[in-house]
Amino acid sequence: MSGHIKDLSFWLTYRKRLTDRFMPDPKWLPKLYHLPPFWYDFSFVLQSQQTLKLRQAARYDGWLVSIAGLSNQIPPPDPPEPHPAGFQIRMLDIRHNRFWSRPFIPESNFCGTGSQRTFLRVPERFHKGDAFQIEMTNLSTNVLKGSVTMEAVHDGNQRS
């Protein structure tokens, strides 16, 4: 409904001042406005240089909105020489059975943090039964604890 955009225009302008990262996409706002949020969390422990694959099937039809991640290893800010730390990741396209990237990419290039998440410019549609699949590799020789959390909204169509 186009009316949503008109009604919210003032408030979005107001919010933009408060949170400069907030980038409303008017095309999607009416569709997803007031839909229930839902989170998909992948928490994992990786041994030294271990690769792990995790998969989670959606219980609802919905749209993937943003991605956040964390790990207990933080890359040094300005290392004198390359120093692998953290983990690298790639995600399988949930609808087309393709990877979002062919090689693994560093976590910091894939997901933001809780307060500064990576928003998808266009929310990704998924259906109940579609699987979220991510693969991670620990870059360090230490044990790594990490988590990738995906925020979605769903339209109430729940698997029986």
Partner: protein, 174 residues
């Protein structure tokens, strides 16, 4: 029509209106043919704040709160203060868990840092959700830090105060 929309006042839900020039039917320009428009609200800032929760070391605790009864709450941001970041959180509203599934390796919810920010850098949600008046909201916390921790979560947003329609305003003034 859901509880956030109402019948379009221009086409009365018919999706079509008469063109004033030639009398032909055309798609309603107000609702764009949907037959319904979003309800009009006045918004006032409101913080939906949970009481502080003490989470025992390597244990679980929960805190529950009922939404105020006199308005709906439009939820935009998550903020939290915790004495450790190694706390997982799980939100439940009216017995509905806002999480896909609990799988091996993740039986305890979402890491707090992935779910909440601070007032300076809040976890800003792009699409708000409405917590209805008198809804029961519960947060479940699990500690992994090995220490007792205190967590305080606040959902930031707006009170939704239904705006008076023209007919209501006229009836009151007359």
């Amino acid at each position: 029509m859901n509880n956030q929309t109402e019948t379009c006042p221009a086409c009365k839900g018919n999706s079509l209106v008469h063109n004033v020039k030639d009398g032909t039917l055309q798609r309603c320009p107000l609702c764009d043919g949907d037959g319904e428009v979003p309800k009009k609200y006045n918004r006032r800032p409101y913080d939906f704040s949970f009481p502080a929760c003490i989470v025992p070391k390597n244990g679980q605790n929960s805190v529950s709160i009922q939404a105020p009864g006199d308005f709906d709450f439009e939820w935009w941001d998550n903020v939290a203060v915790a004495t450790s970041s190694s706390v997982y959180v799980l939100l439940e509203i009216n017995d509905v868990r806002f999480m896909n599934s609990l799988q091996p390796g993740n039986g305890n919810g979402i890491p707090l840092d992935n779910w909440a920010g601070t007032a300076q850098l809040p976890y800003s949600r792009r699409f708000p959700f409405v917590i209805s008046a008198r809804d029961q909201a519960t947060l479940y916390f699990t500690d992994f830090s090995g220490f007792t921790n205190t967590v305080t979560v606040t959902l930031k947003g707006h009170q939704l105060i239904p705006a008076k329609t023209k007919s209501q305003s006229t009836a009151q003034s007359s």
